[in-house]
């Protein structure tokens, strides 16, 4: 069996597919996967004016926007993440970017942050039969924390439904491994080491996903100090969390939300969350210590 590899860009991130099978069949499904990734982007990107997310944001404080079953399911899933994380995982917290943007030369003032906090709160999102309403003008929804991971699962499912039993879907580091590699062994996925060249660890994966969340990838330097791009929706300030977290789970979306919630907590409580999450994980602390938990 032949290993076919494809690269494309979608959802603002490089994507890669590896599909084991005949070239012709793999080409056909790879194209469908790419279209599916682009569909997710068109539908859920907050940068595309016609997306459902942009429509909901534009109607904030005014009217409820009807959503389809898929969007409702994504919001329902996000609701569960919000409850499980005591409100840390909050799709409305993106407004904090207005004061914590990368061109910032000074730390935001308390007043600036508080003005943003007034617009944050998943409990202020009303989901009814009529649709989704952000109850205050100026509120914003950002599905970035769920959609890319969910898209990786959905694309892997497309490949599986087309009859393939060996493939890797990688959407900007959110990875699903279907079946075994052509050598008949688990796929081996390198976990990024934020501090050095080469992988931090290698995860053997069969029918599982891995997602990584790290404050090291995207951060801001303000007045010579490094600030994580991960912002606590309760305080409005960056979190002093772990350096990076990778989580392995049956679905990429579950792995991604467990990793994200860990990164939204302070280092110690992030580690405690991971330990109790039931999932396998690799975490790196700010001191550079690597912690491997619940190995499979």
């Amino acid at each position: 069996m032949r290993l076919n590899a494809y690269r494309f860009t979608a959802m603002g991130t490089p994507c890669e597919l590896k599909i084991v099978g005949s070239k012709r069949a793999a080409n056909e499904i790879a194209l469908r996967c790419q279209q599916e990734a682009q569909r997710f982007e068109a539908r859920y990107s907050r940068f595309i004016a016609t997306s459902i997310v942009s429509q909901i944001n534009a109607a904030a404080g005014k009217i409820a926007v009807p959503v389809d079953e898929e969007c409702a399911a994504i919001l329902e899933y996000a609701d569960i993440c919000w409850s499980l994380s005591d409100g840390l995982f909050d799709l409305t917290s993106g407004v904090l970017r207005r004061v914590w943007h990368r061109h910032r030369s000074a730390v935001p003032t308390r007043e600036e942050v508080e003005a943003c906090l007034a617009l944050i709160g998943w409990q202020k999102v009303r989901r009814t039969q009529e649709g989704v309403l952000l109850t205050q003008p100026g509120m914003e929804l950002d599905l970035g924390g769920v959609v890319k991971e969910y898209a990786a699962d959905a694309i892997a499912q497309l490949i599986k439904d087309a009859g393939f039993d060996s493939a890797v879907v990688n959407l900007g580091g959110d990875i699903y491994c279907l079946g075994f590699s052509p050598e008949g062994v688990p796929w081996r996925i390198g976990i990024v080491n934020p501090l050095a060249e080469g992988p931090l660890a290698e995860a053997p994966l069969v029918n599982r996903g891995v997602a990584t969340s790290g404050g090291y990838e995207r951060y801001r330097v303000i007045e010579g100090k490094r600030y994580s791009h991960l912002l606590n929706p309760h305080t409005g300030f960056p979190v002093k969390s772990l350096m990076s977290v990778s989580v392995m789970a049956e679905t990429v979306v579950a792995a991604g939300s467990i990793a994200t919630i860990a990164m939204l907590k302070e280092e110690a409580s992030g580690l405690a969350w991971l330990a109790s999450s039931g999932s396998a994980y690799v975490a790196m602390t700010q001191q550079g210590d690597t912690i491997v938990g619940n190995p499979e």
Binding site: A72, E76, Y77, L84, A249, T251, S257, G278, S279
Partner: protein, 382 residues
């Protein structure tokens, strides 16, 4: 109760599985399990036995179970179990010289085995499934065949699900030594069961399930091995069940609490309550205790000792299971996970007592049992 409540991983995984791209409710993995268990009844007290052996039942059971997806929209299960039974069972009761009831036991000659096979096949759609099942169970003197159908449907983003099921079974008995002991040559009974249940996810960490069941049995419902056992030929049984699951962050604990109320046309009322705690849910070792409490009233034709003065068409039975009694059982369960392989160990001890029964008027039945069950199993998922 597939959507059970466990670790954040389990909660999020199950939530993810209800999203449209992943929402085939078909099982996504194959499970093979084997288990062996020993059920051992405590011997009858010597002063409770007027005649026969004191050694009560011992049952050794081996079980095999396979569940697997078949193609894209189907799944199937196969289960097989084999039981080897030995020991003595009560034939009847008599009134002893001091007014106590005593047991007449069989000799410890019962040595039988039972084999059972059940097959099921389910077709899954996005929000509903329909399954059919057939079963057979056979001993040298007993053969039972059953068929069943189940329907499940999810509502409201899978937070609510409805289950309906119906089954029919027919059992034939041909008692051994029928001529020697003037037992019935052969008899049969038919049972029809209907069950409706509703499952509701209350919060991401709490779920409730309510169910109503109805079973009608008719035919030969007596115990042919008792010296005198005449039971009404029709029985209507009703059950109400409530199950609650809650996940707590503390020690990753899952609480499973269940209540069942049973009432039937024999005038038996029974309440069962049980609770199981599982610590370390989702981790490599899950373990926890179980407690079960049971209490029932006696059947309206229950007699403490067999009355041979009555005509053998008049209902009477001295079976301890039809007396007023209650029971307490305590158990421990542990699951050790090594990747796709799990080892499951269980221990349970059970003791029945007359004073835990409902509306008890008669003396304690001397045949009330206590038993222990030890079981060990292995599971593999792929």
């Amino acid at each position: 109760m597939a959507k059970s409540l466990k670790s954040p991983l389990a909660i999020l995984s199950s939530a993810a599985m209800s999203m449209p791209a992943l929402s085939a409710s078909q099982p996504s993995e194959t499970l093979v399990s084997v288990a062996t268990s020993i059920y051992q009844e405590g011997d009858a007290r010597s002063d409770a036995v007027a005649f026969g052996d004191q050694e009560r039942f011992e049952v050794k059971t081996n079980q095999f179970y396979l569940s697997s997806p078949i193609g894209r929209n189907w799944s199937g299960t196969v289960s097989y179990d084999n039981e080897a039974m030995s020991g003595a069972s009560p034939w009847g009761t008599i009134e002893g010289a001091d007014g106590d009831y005593q047991l007449i036991m069989s000799g410890a000659s019962i040595d039988d085995s039972r084999n059972g096979v059940d097959l099921s096949l389910t077709r899954h759609w996005r929000k509903q499934s329909i399954g059919v099942s057939v079963g057979y169970s056979g001993e040298h003197d007993y053969h039972a065949r059953s068929v069943g159908i189940t329907y499940e449907r999810d509502f409201l983003k899978k937070n609510t699900s409805l289950g309906l099921s119906a089954s029919y079974s027919t059992d034939d008995i041909t008692p051994t030594d029928a001529q020697l002991f003037q037992r019935l040559d052969s008899g049969s009974k038919h049972s029809r069961s209907y069950y409706v249940s509703i499952n509701q996810l209350l919060t991401p960490v709490a779920m409730i399930n309510l169910g109503l069941g109805l079973t009608r049995r008719d035919g030969y419902l007596s115990d042919p091995y008792k010296l005198r056992d005449v039971r009404p030929g029709k029985r209507l049984e009703r059950t109400f069940t409530a199950q609650y699951r809650h996940y707590f962050d503390w020690q990753s604990t899952t609480l499973a609490a269940n209540y069942r109320y049973f009432w039937d046309s024999y005038a038996i009322d029974a309440h069962t309550g049980d609770a199981q705690l599982t610590f370390g849910t989702g981790s490599r070792v899950e373990w926890g205790p179980t407690l079960r409490l049971y209490g029932q009233s006696a059947a309206d034709f229950y007699v403490p000792w067999d009355d041979y003065g009555l005509e053998d068409t008049i209902a009477q039975s001295s079976d301890h299971r039809l007396s007023s009694f209650g029971a307490v059982s305590l158990g421990l369960k542990a699951r050790f996970k090594m990747g796709p392989a799990h080892i499951v160990a269980r221990y349970q001890q059970y003791e029945s007592k007359k004073h835990l029964g409902l509306r008890s008027k008669t003396q304690a039945h001397p045949g009330l049992i206590r038993f222990k069950v030890v079981s060990l199993g292995a599971e593999y998922r792929f």
